[in-house]
């Protein structure tokens, strides 16, 4: 509101005709309000981190580092370990990336390089619409449509084909790590896809045209021009999707089975950090229980930071490599 008003005012009258004080004040207001707005991000982030640390101090003092390496979760004896939640968070997000990254790359490349303009626009709009679907709808869809499908067809087929190996063992429930990975994959697909599409669109036509002029095929242009040019943006898109998958709560809670037992099977029930928090926070009655849940939140924040840092590191290295080339 404030920057808008001052902007209009300065456009109405020529800036040079103003007395110095009147010119400085709107500018000063604009600067400070923008700076204050920007600093809230830092304050908020620091505040959340500090608050989490303070409220998790009980469990940090009691369990120390072993909190992250043990898979017990016993509210009766107040013995807590985060391993099963951390494992579930990483595995379900990993499965989601396996599904979403190749699929959204293919869709984005199709939209930019291959599809006729009308089709490209229709499919593009449909993908943006997918991003607008609330996560609870994905959860309900997962529980009522996808999970029976996996229980009745996918898991029996996989078990018949591969035999009873630990990765696919267990009764066919249709609820578990695999189902949540697939749901998460569908949920982050529109984000990765939309950003990748925009990145690929920004590849200068002159680069592509000169490649075509040299006799390159569509595949060669895509592989050797479009993808290398947009690689940093694409990696950014992938990490944007990963960030969403790590923190997604509602849809996962519906289909993951919310159980703290650690299992090697992708078809067994598990839990993620955010699902555990959503399920148990309101009924965590003892201080140690509450404190352990807060430390789980801290762990989620740490995981996000680690992945974010990895993304930056990777992108900066890429930048140096391309600059040298």
């Amino acid at each position: 509101m404030v920057p808008d008003a001052s902007g209009e005012a300065s456009r109405e009258t020529a800036p040079r005709a103003l007395p110095p004080g009147a010119k400085a004040l709107p500018d000063f207001l604009f600067r400070t309000s923008a700076a204050v707005a920007a600093s809230t991000v830092i304050v908020l982030l620091g505040g959340i981190f500090l608050e989490l640390c303070i409220n998790a101090r009980l469990s940090i003092a009691r369990f120390g580092f072993s909190f992250f390496t043990r898979d017990v979760w016993n509210p009766v004896t107040e013995d807590f370990g985060a391993l099963s939640s951390i494992y579930g968070t990483i595995v379900s997000s990993g499965l989601a990336m396996l599904l979403a990254v190749p699929l959204s790359m293919a869709i984005a490349l199709f939209l930019v390089e291959l599809a006729p303009p009308l089709l490209s626009r229709v499919v593009g709009d449909a993908i943006e619409l997918l991003a607008a679907i609330p996560s609870i709808i994905y959860g309900i869809w997962g529980l009522f449509i996808l999970s029976p499908l996996i229980a009745d067809h996918v898991q029996p087929w996989i078990q018949e084909t591969f035999g009873e190996i630990p990765l696919f063992s267990g009764p066919p429930m249709g609820i578990g790590m695999m189902t949540s990975g697939i749901i998460l994959g569908f949920m982050i697909l529109p984000y990765i896809c939309a950003v990748t599409r925009d990145v690929l669109k920004m590849v200068p036509p002159v680069l592509k045209e000169s490649a075509y002029g040299m006799g390159a095929t569509t595949w060669e242009v895509t592989r050797n021009v479009s993808i290398p040019y947009g690689l940093r943006g694409i990696i950014g898109a992938v990490f944007l999707g990963l960030g969403r998958a790590l923190g997604e709560t509602m849809a996962v809670t519906f289909v993951i089975g919310n159980d703290h037992t650690l299992s090697t099977s992708l078809f067994a029930a598990g839990t993620t950090i955010s699902a555990t928090l959503a399920n148990e926070f309101s009924e965590a009655t003892t201080p140690m229980y509450l404190s352990s849940l807060v430390e789980l939140g801290l762990a989620l924040m740490a995981i996000s930071v680690v992945f974010q840092a990895a993304a930056y590191f990777w992108m900066s290295r890429l930048g140096r490599v391309t600059a040298r080339a």
């Binding site: 005012a9 004040l25 509210p75 229980a151 009924e283 009655t285």
Partner: protein
């Protein structure tokens, strides 16, 4: 231009002031109490257990129509109810799991039972309809421990002669959130099985040896409906309204009983409320040939020392009304109201244990 900036500053100042005012107002809203001494126009706030929520809401509606007193009950869960009453943000809390009397003493709370309900094991096994499968307490515990993994296990078959059991894996469904339902259910398992007691114990949430977890009664029931070969546990009213297949349970007197209002009442009838300090009573595994073994009461929590006598009295009047007139709607919603003798005991404890400024809030005449 100068004027415009002045107006802008004024606007910003005004905005900040309004925001500050609403923020303060919002923060103090729950504590404000109606100043009038007449009972009509007062709004009473309660929060807690989800299990009795439909009944409390119905009672609040009927009582509101009769007396003009508004009652606002939020079903945030037993743990939440306990936390809210401790923090004094509500006039009463509600919990399916009773607090022990030493906790009541240290927090300055009184506790009394309001309604009785049963927890029912529900199954989804092909070919077995509601009320066909018989289970003993030990069998149920072994299933939830993950010791019995197939429906055609010899130990289940021997309890169910003549019933054809499928060769199917058992999937255990439990609550993922903390819950009074779980408290009642795990208390029963601990009462009938030593190995359950030592492995998982009892509480509003426990470490489950096996299975999947659903959030709330609805989460458990939708998992049971989805997963073939599953067994879970829900509140009786919930199982009934969703037409879920329940099992027959063996009680202490070695007879198999159906879950019903009569069998829950039978469990409550034998309970010795008069000698239970703070009404801390676990109603699981009670004697009686017609007793449902997995029964429990839902409790109300209030502070012993009340700052506002009129408001405390209004709350007690509501519960008094519910004890007297609440039975028809309780029955309609598949809950069991407390026997009149217990209600009299509770009223006596209001007189002796709750006061405002040194004077008892409730006198035996009904004030």
């Amino acid at each position: 231009m100068q004027m415009m900036t002045n107006r802008m500053i004024k606007f910003l100042l005004g905005l900040a002031l309004t925001m500050a005012a609403t923020a303060c107002g919002g923060g103090s809203a729950p504590v404000t109490s109606a100043g009038s001494t007449s009972s009509s126009g007062i709004t009473l706030n309660g929060a807690g257990a989800t299990f009795p929520y439909p009944l409390y809401a119905q009672w609040a509606h009927e009582y509101g129509a009769a007396s003009g007193v508004k009652l606002n009950y939020q079903s945030i869960g037993s743990g939440g109810g306990i936390a809210q009453i401790k923090a004094k943000t509500v006039d009463f809390g509600a919990s399916d799991a009773p607090l022990k009397s030493d906790v009541l003493d240290s927090e300055g709370l009184i506790q009394f039972p309001m309604v009785i309900g049963g927890v029912v094991p529900v199954i989804n096994v092909e070919g077995i309809s509601s009320g066909q499968l018989k289970l003993t307490g030990t069998l149920l515990a072994d299933i939830f421990l993950g010791k019995i993994r197939k429906w055609n296990d010899p130990s289940i078959a021997s309890a169910n002669p003549g019933l054809s059991l499928p060769d199917q894996d058992i999937t255990v469904v439990h609550r993922a959130d903390g819950s009074g339902t779980t408290w009642i259910f795990t208390n029963f398992l601990s009462a009938v099985s030593e190995s359950w007691k030592s492995k998982s114990g009892s509480g509003t949430s426990v470490e489950w040896p096996s299975g999947v977890g659903g959030k709330g009664n609805e989460g458990v029931s939708s998992y049971v409906e989805r997963v073939k070969g599953s067994i879970g546990y829900v509140e009786f009213a919930y199982a009934l309204q969703n037409k879920m297949a329940h099992v027959l349970m063996e009680n202490r007197d070695r007879s198999f009983v159906e879950p019903s209002i009569e069998t829950f009442q039978s469990a409550a009838a034998n309970a010795d409320w008069a000698n239970a300090p703070g009404y801390y009573l676990v109603l699981v595994d009670q004697p009686g040939a017609r007793t449902w073994p997995i029964t429990g009461a839902s409790f109300i929590l209030m502070h012993r020392e009340q700052p506002d006598a009129a408001k405390a009295l209004a709350v007690l009047k509501f519960f008094d009304w519910a004890y007297k007139n609440g039975e028809p709607s309780a029955k309609k919603l598949d809950y069991v109201s407390l026997p009149g003798t217990v209600a009299d005991l509770v009223r006596a404890s209001w007189t002796s244990r709750m006061s405002s400024g040194g004077k008892p809030v409730w006198s035996n005449s009904g004030s």
